[in-house]
Symmetry: C2
Subunit: 246 residues, 2 copies
């Protein structure tokens, strides 16, 4: 199960090949192919921009044309910002990523084809591809080559990423507080608030307590934090009594 | 309903502010704020990289610190690649985008906070934010500032983008072929195939016809394409008869 190849057709600037290589590395892609680059190869500017992903540049294959670069692939998706003069299926990047993953899981060799910085892909190159990908943008739609590779690489990685949409990062390895710890803390707090005359009028105490509990439990406290809050209550109460004694 | 502000803390290179502005324009963001940039402002390198989004640079606000830059915002999400020494909720970019959209729909002012190129955000800056965002990457996790803004802008636009995952782009405004046009074409093809002795053994004709029909209907032909295929059949048949006559 191998990640899609990234094939850049007629790139005009070494810098963009370098930043494409770097974006590939960020998202776990490694097979880079160049169709007739418009600059000498290897290329110093590409090396500089590729910082940390020079291995991808060194292993990059050169091809004279799209037919040769694409010869071994069974599913090829092409990025394009413009409408074309033939009827083609157009995918969102997320849908493209899902299709690539599905194909890879069946052992199918996949590739993403990107056009030159200004001209994009020509119609003959596009006629060799299975479907097109258009990246959604606001009115200004021009993305550079490195950015287009970055967004497709990101969607490809994301399609198999199991990171939950939200998680709580806890570098102390504290556990969520138990209900007993929370209740002890809440009763401690409510007792001191009662002593301070906070619950007024008394008839509203029940609702006030429920609102305070909702506000505190929403924070999802861990056991260390519950201890911190109890220390805070003690410190606040001590100051108050000290003030009253004066 | 206004898009999130993009706030860059202590940026080190004008180039990155320029590419951030450009990425903002690509995805419909416009409110840029800089906290204590480490270079003179306005900045030539930023202008060059911002090509087409100079208006965003010109309107950018400068602030001395995060507290001042964030003062007016009610929901602030901070991007970070590293674990932190406090317990914080960490969101995927997609979840962050969904929360920003939901907040905006209630008139809440939102912002995305990005740290400096090397150092990232410091712990005091992070303590002012509601939650963190970590962009999923492969082993090499370092994204530059412009790329991080690009990916968050992309997810934000995508969260309200209604482009279907797959569509067929048809610049001739042809309509899908009617069932009658398709059936006429299939019968034309099958008749000529029959005349050419294609359906052998005859007992298998039914299954062979069904396979051919499945293969052709999968292409989702439009009416112009159906006419093209009928012309192709006529041309092929003509050649065949000419060959036989020799």
């Amino acid at each position: 199960m191998s990640p899609p190849a990234v094939i850049l057709s007629h790139p005009q600037m070494g810098e963009n090949v370098g930043s494409a290589a770097r974006a590939m590395k960020n998202f776990g892609l490694s097979d880079l192919r160049l169709i007739a680059p418009q600059f000498g190869w290897p290329n110093d500017r590409a090396q500089i921009l590729a910082s940390g992903s020079g291995d991808i540049l060194e292993a990059a294959q050169l091809h004279p044309d799209a037919a040769s670069a694409l010869a071994g692939f069974q599913l090829v998706l092409a990025t394009t910002a413009r409408a074309r003069d033939a009827v083609r299926e157009v995918l969102t990047p997320a849908e493209a990523a899902a299709r690539l993953r599905e194909a890879e899981s069946r052992g199918i060799k996949t590739a993403l084809l990107f056009g030159a910085e200004r001209a994009g892909l020509d119609n003959d190159e596009i006629s060799l591809c299975d479907a097109l990908i258009t990246i959604p943008t606001a009115k200004m739609s021009s993305l550079n080559l490195g950015q287009a590779v970055l967004l497709l690489g990101y969607e490809w990685l994301k399609a198999a990423d199991t990171t939950p949409a939200t998680r709580t990062r806890d570098s102390f390895n504290d556990k969520p507080a138990s209900r007993q710890e929370l209740v002890d803390m809440l009763e401690h707090l409510e007792g001191e608030l009662d002593a301070g005359g906070f619950f007024f009028p008394p008839a509203k105490k029940g609702a006030m307590v429920r609102n305070i509990r909702a506000m505190i439990l929403r924070a999802g406290l861990n056991d260390g934090e519950v201890r911190t809050i109890r220390g805070m209550i003690v410190a606040l109460v001590k100051n108050k009594y000290r003030g009253e004694k004066k």
